[in-house]
Symmetry: C2
Amino acid sequence: MVKTNGQKTAGQNDTERKIMEAAEEMFLRNGYNLTTTTMIARKAGVTHAMLHYYYRTKEQIFIKVLDRNLDELLASFHPVMKKDTPFWETLESGISTHFDFLMKHPELPTFILDTMRFNPELLESYKPRIRETLLRITGFHFSIIKDEIAAGKIRDVDPEQLLLDIITLNLSAFIMLPPARKVFTEISDTRSRQILENRKKEIIALIRSRLYGKL
Amino acid sequence: MVKTNGQKTAGQNDTERKIMEAAEEMFLRNGYNLTTTTMIARKAGVTHAMLHYYYRTKEQIFIKVLDRNLDELLASFHPVMKKDTPFWETLESGISTHFDFLMKHPELPTFILDTMRFNPELLESYKPRIRETLLRITGFHFSIIKDEIAAGKIRDVDPEQLLLDIITLNLSAFIMLPPARKVFTEISDTRSRQILENRKKEIIALIRSRLYGKL
DNA sequence: ATAATGTTTAACAGATTTGTTAATACACCG
DNA sequence: CGGTGTATTAACAAATCTGTTAAACATTAT
């Protein structure tokens, strides 16, 4: 059961790693329920018994995948919260950093959404950490937005709505556009990146005019 | 096979109707792949053989559900395209009407998204109609937006991006917020409606400032 | 009433799913 | 070389899924 031979002092052996890679790819794309252990094994090029040998159950594999990705997601929120830099600079870089992170992990939003919809119980143990991270970031932004409103520098918006605007706009580009393109227009990879860049600019412009525009 | 007895001159008999209602509910909530015919039968309170008797296959039932809902969706786009009413009035009522339609069919966006992701082949036959409807509405709005820009009445925005803003913002409220609430905060029905109303106001304000704000 | 037609049930069939297990191949260590 | 523990395979098992079928039941029309 416990592996102690040579090659895996520095990590997993080949089979174990291939299973994890295949599992991650499939779980991210199709979620927990639509991914079968048989499919994972086939993609990894191993017998499906191997996957029970190394990870015991489907749920255990999924938990490992969830773990890797949720850590990354939560970490991505940290960087951009400095009280000293100017307000708009902070907010713009927050939006931009978030969007850039999503470009590097384009399947993550859909994956989390799927898990929230169909397997919320698997997220139970992460709730405290998620909640804490979310509270920290919303707390920070609420505070700087309110300060800026109080100083009469931006329009009197509801901070909660503004953060919802930002988050839903950013996530939408990764949750809704790919399936839509799948049905309507197949598209090249470079073109796809360009579309996303335009989207990012538009979202920033949108939030900016919400705050600074005078009607 | 063909039913010609009394009670269904004016529609389906009870069993058939119960199956369709159960199927619609489950397909809308869980999509094609995660809905089993057994579950539908159980929810309808009939033997699962009944469902093959009336609809032959799972796919046939799904097609019927898709048909009912897609018709409604496409029809919902028609009302608000009059060239004579003022620009902002037209656009605002377009956003508002779209949002109100979604409030009456809150599960439709997720349902369509799921189908685009996992069963795009089932949408194949609807493509022409969808494409035509979409072209009509985007064409109309592109035209009035460009006119308004040319007249110097609004900012010089990319009409395509603006429509993406509107659509993704509206849909997000129904695709992303419910699962998020499922994980973070359970919420009452009236409170939920109030949140959506606030969301609608915010989206309209956001688009308005994008067009009319001077930075 | 009875034949014909429509509806429902229960049982079955074949595929697929997650997971186990017993046998075997392999590597390493004394 | 032999023995110990690990890795891998193939076969199996129980559950569930979609779909079929034959027989029982109900309804209607003649």
